[in-house]
């Protein structure tokens, strides 16, 4: 049993070890190790396109996850207050947002936006008083929207699961003590559902940061990190890509570790207060 489990961990980590190893390759391709060097890290961080793609990915992942966390939580709260008929509609739509394959979401969004832009842009141009009317096109907004769709559904699902296990009596007690609904929400409900919102945010961020297929269709002129990597796989990856992947891995491990420490610290001071 132990041996089998160890083998699975080896299976999970061997490719990652390889990615990290090749990031220190002296040679110029990521499939032949010729010597140890950290030069590709310097190259990667002076490669404007790679850095731009990384920046785009971070901006898109952060924005879509934030919007998804806020709107998804609002929706979760709203669904609790809805009548059964509306609830079924929202349940169905959120379920669809999760199970419809990414490739279909990407294509459908592209097709629909292309249709909308082909009507919208000439219309705006004909009404615009100045010389250069604004052109609507694919870019940050379309990627954020398409990623946010899945993310919002995930946040809503997680937050609703948490709300379901939430004690109603404490909310009623807060009302009985003349707290305003907003006050009750802020001081009683929000702290309790916060971990699930954060979990949803993290999942959404991870999904958006790693997504290729949806962005591939709706990215327009913006290149995300996965799009950049996919493009470089087409003609052979240089260890630059490995260097960035390793940096992202180390940064996220660091963040997880920092969050852990912070939470532990917080819970300790929290205990001190009471």
């Amino acid at each position: 049993m132990r041996a089998l489990v160890s083998a699975v961990y080896l299976f999970l980590y061997a490719p990652i070890a390889l990615v990290v190893l090749f990031s220190f390759n002296a040679g110029r391709n990521a499939s032949e190790f010729t010597g140890f060097s950290a030069a590709w890290y310097a190259k990667a961080f002076s490669n404007t396109f790679l850095i731009q793609a990384l920046q785009n990915s971070l901006i898109i992942a952060f924005t879509s996850a934030t919007l998804a966390a806020v709107f998804g939580t609002m929706a979760a709260l709203a669904i609790e207050r809805m009548g059964p008929r509306m609830r079924v509609v929202f349940d169905g739509l959120f379920a669809a947002a999760i199970v419809v394959p990414g490739v279909v979401i990407g294509i459908a969004t592209l097709v629909a936006l292309a249709a909308v832009f082909s009507v919208l842009n000439p219309a705006v141009a004909s009404l615009w008083p100045g010389d250069s009317p604004p052109q609507f096109g694919l870019g940050y907004a379309s990627i954020i929207a398409a990623h946010g769709l899945f993310s919002m559904a995930v946040v809503t699902m997680i937050v609703r699961a948490r709300i379901a296990s939430l004690g109603r009596d404490i909310v009623e007690a807060s009302g009985d003590l003349y707290a305003t609904p907003w006050g009750t929400f802020r001081q009683v409900v929000l702290p309790q559902i916060m971990p699930s919102i954060l979990a949803g945010f993290l999942l959404a961020f991870t999904f958006s940061f790693d997504d290729f297929i949806v962005a591939f269709f709706v990215a327009g002129s913006k290149s995300t990190l996965p799009i950049y990597v996919f493009a470089s796989i087409r003609r052979g990856v240089t260890p630059e890509v490995n260097a960035v992947a390793t940096t992202v891995l180390v940064a996220s491990l660091f963040l997880i570790f920092a969050a852990r420490l912070l939470m532990r610290e917080k819970s300790r001071t929290g205990q001190g207060d009471t």
């Binding site: 396109f49 832009f117 493009a231 087409r234 003609r235």
Partner: protein, 383 residues
């Protein structure tokens, strides 16, 4: 003054150039000795001030450029940014169909892109690209271009695209593994099923994969005849179980010797042969493709002024030379040819004999939009 602008012979230029490449002299020294620096300073300075005067207010700070992977010297874009303050976002694509698909869907935001010869008439017909304003390209000189490679950029006397470079689609074979030499596409498809079984690659690109299968069967590279296409489909499906991959990214496979035989573009052939001399590049004696890539400006471009500025920058001979050395393709511009080191111009992969080019065909516009060819390719891949 005259001390600096001494005439320099081609041999001296090459020697100086090789020295520059080896790093034993600085770029400044090289430019000083060859007089290029002066020329560049004069031309660049004048063009630069002209551009700045004319467009300073609308060049913006950002532009978007769509091209092919490993097709440029990244330093070119850095130099452009340093000169104009415009940052260039580079997007890379794998096929002309993909570029057309993105442009048709709209909203790409590209200000400049690199389509291949046979696609330009379709782009113009679909009103997806602008007619070029040559006054904004002072460094482009139609008289130094080779008409054979420029004519498809000109439609009804109007220039819609200007050439970047030309090239061919041939056969790359690892001669240490493949004992039988390959000289025709007929032999390519036969060897794929025998000596090269499990080791052969074809492009994930309808034009070349179907085209070369058609050539192997004795038909035109550009055929859209239903019966001939059916024969080509039959051949491709028969060969499919013997293929290592259907993929236009054959460099990694060839370098790792997972693949021994592949359809191959000039620039990849030159790069593979440079690093692994046992990989030979041959043109099909029975036919195949000759092509040229162009620069064009999409109608939907958001910052066309910067698109023109970058295009003009890349057309400047001393910038173009660096580009050609970086990607290993033959130039269409005699000004650039004159500046290229002999090491490059004598390379038979990059500049093959005229005779070996004569069986080759330029891709035809109809292949891009013909639904029959697209379906044959799709059925071949999903079979």
């Amino acid at each position: 003054m005259s001390k600096f602008i001494k005439p320099i012979t081609a041999a001296e230029l090459t020697a100086e150039f090789m020295r520059l490449k080896r790093g034993s002299v600085t770029r400044r020294h090289f430019l000083g000795v060859t007089g290029l620096g002066m020329a560049a300073a004069v031309v660049g300075g004048r063009a630069g001030s002209f551009v700045r005067e004319a467009h300073a207010e609308d060049l913006g700070t950002q532009m978007s450029f769509a091209t092919w992977p490993n097709y440029h010297d990244p330093a070119s874009f850095e130099a452009f940014t340093a000169k104009t303050g415009v940052a260039v976002e580079v997007n890379v694509f794998g096929s002309n169909e993909e570029m057309l698909a993105k442009l048709q869907a709209g909203g790409t935001g590209w200000d400049l892109f690199v389509p291949t010869n046979y696609t330009i008439s379709t782009y113009a017909k679909l009103d997806l690209i602008d007619q070029l304003d040559l006054a904004r390209l002072p460094n482009y000189d139609p008289t130094t271009e080779t008409a054979r490679f420029t004519n498809e950029g000109i439609i009804d006397g109007n220039t819609y695209a200007v050439p970047k470079n030309w090239g061919t689609t041939g056969i790359a074979s690892n001669t240490s593994k493949m004992k039988t030499p390959v000289t025709t596409w007929k032999e390519f498809f036969e060897l794929a099923q025998t000596e090269g079984t499990g080791r052969t690659m074809v492009h994930d690109y309808q034009l070349t994969t179907i085209g070369n299968a058609l050539v192997a069967l004795g038909h035109s590279f550009n055929s859209v005849d239903a019966a001939e296409l059916a024969k080509a489909e039959e051949l491709l499906i028969k060969v499919k179980p013997h293929l290592f991959a259907i993929n236009s990214d054959y460099q990694p496979g060839m370098r790792a010797t997972d693949a021994w035989l592949t359809m191959c573009w000039t620039n990849d052939g030159a790069q593979l042969n440079r690093d692994m001399p046992e990989i030979a590049f041959t043109l099909g004696k029975d036919g195949g493709e000759i092509w040229s890539d162009f620069y064009a400006i999409p109608k939907s471009g958001a910052n066309k002024a910067a698109g023109y500025a970058l295009l003009d920058f890349l057309m400047t001979p001393d910038n173009a030379v660096k580009e050609h050395i970086a990607n290993g393709t033959p130039t269409t511009d005699s000004r650039v040819l004159a500046l290229l080191p002999q090491e490059v111009t004598s390379n038979k992969i990059v500049y093959p004999d005229e005779a070996s080019l004569s069986p080759l065909e330029f891709g035809a516009a109809v292949t891009l939009t013909d639904p029959g060819r697209a379906e044959v390719m799709a059925r071949f891949k999903s079979a």
